[in-house]
């Protein structure tokens, strides 16, 4: 194993189905995926080159979007394949141990918390619901103004037109916020947990509409259809938002609550937050 470290994708209960799921599966860098078990929890692991995943090279690589994407997709590929067969607790990207001994140690130390979270997630899937504000209708009158505004000085006409735009924008935001609330209520009726992700901005965003909400819902598998119908209806025609639904995902957004969080009250996980305020594991 010299020259390689252990990359951990996720944690599951050991079972023949898990062994089947990883058979032939390839992870980061195309390395074969294997199961490392300790007690009644098991990690899904592959070897990765230490030269790429030690502190300095990792920091450099993470500035490279192509490299990051390759690792992220490999990680997701493994989690997705495993999640199709068994309940899996996905780990954060790039969770690295020096060797399998380190993996076993964390499995042993966190065993109870892993098991309890796995039990909670069994039979559930994650759905992503992103809402986009539909572009607001143009304020009445073309820019520069006609009719009344044409009698105003250019400066005043400009200010009036700006003011109208602002008003229209405020109204559009209010309407979108109302719609976000309604969709959330509709979705929550079929979901057992909810996480609010940060709205998507920046160069990776496709399209031009404004993302106004980015939520994840943990939904019992059997209620997925009802969940999807409810969301589609609440964000349907006549509403100022458009929904983009992703999934089903392995429960990435709901994996929190494992090691370090044992002392957190069970009831506290109803409304997790994934944005700046969220801390996945309890302190200490």
């Amino acid at each position: 194993m010299t020259g390689s470290v252990s990359y951990v994708y996720g944690v599951a209960g050991p079972s023949p189905a898990l062994d089947d799921a990883v058979r032939g599966l390839r992870g980061v860098d195309g390395a074969p995926v294997r199961v490392v078990a300790a007690g009644d929890v098991a990690a899904v692991v592959s070897d990765v080159p230490a030269a790429d995943f030690e502190e300095r090279p990792l920091a450099a690589h993470l500035e490279d979007l192509d490299w990051l994407e390759a690792v992220a997709r490999a990680h997701h590929g493994v989690i997705d394949a495993v999640a199709a067969r068994v309940t899996v607790l996905p780990l954060r990207l790039a969770t690295i141990y020096r060797d399998d001994q380190g993996v076993r140690a964390v499995l042993t130390a966190g065993g109870a918390a892993f098991r309890s979270r796995l039990a909670r997630l069994a039979g559930h899937v994650e759905w992503g619901v992103k809402l986009y504000a539909e572009p607001a209708a143009a304020p009445d009158g073309p820019p520069g103004g006609s009719g009344e505004s044409s009698r105003l000085s250019p400066g005043r006409a400009y200010l009036r037109s700006r003011s109208r735009e602002r008003t229209a924008r405020d109204e559009a935001h209010r309407a979108a916020a109302d719609a976000v609330r309604r969709v959330h209520e509709a979705a929550s009726a079929h979901a057992v947990e909810h996480v609010r992700h940060r709205v998507q901005q920046g160069p990776l965003v496709r399209g031009t509409s404004e993302n106004v909400s980015n939520d994840a819902y943990l939904v019992p598998s059997g209620r997925s259809d009802a969940f999807l119908s409810a969301v589609r209806e609440a964000a349907g025609a006549g509403t100022p938002v458009r929904a983009e639904i992703t999934g089903p995902w392995a429960p990435y957004s709901f994996a929190a609550g494992a090691p370090g969080a044992e002392d957190r009250a069970d009831g506290a996980d109803g409304e997790n937050r994934a944005d700046g305020a969220r801390e996945e594991a309890a302190p200490g």
Binding site: E55, R98, G110, G123, Q200, S253, D275, R278
Partner: protein, 84 residues
């Protein structure tokens, strides 16, 4: 989890299970979701906070309204205490 329980939607609009997932949706989940456990020496140094810091300029344009893509600097110190 049994994905089989969720048939692909009929209308072809969304979701699109066959389509490659968008990287940004994946990063939402892989960088803010997932269990955070402290790795061995490697990760205890190169903690996931490093990922956040490194990616800050890359993924999300920073503004005063949006100072930090995945958690503030204040949250990062707390992560050091995450115990495996």
């Amino acid at each position: 989890m049994t994905m089989d329980a969720v048939p692909p939607p009929e209308d072809g609009a969304d979701p699109l299970p066959q389509r490659q997932v968008a990287l940004i949706d994946l990063l939402d989940r892989l960088l803010t979701g997932g269990v955070v456990i402290t790795g061995d020496v490697v990760l205890s140094i190169a903690d996931i906070d490093l990922v956040r810091v490194s990616l800050r300029a890359l993924i999300v344009s920073i503004s005063e309204e949006n100072p930090s893509p995945w958690g503030g600097v204040g949250a990062e110190t707390a992560r050091d205490r995450h115990v495996a």
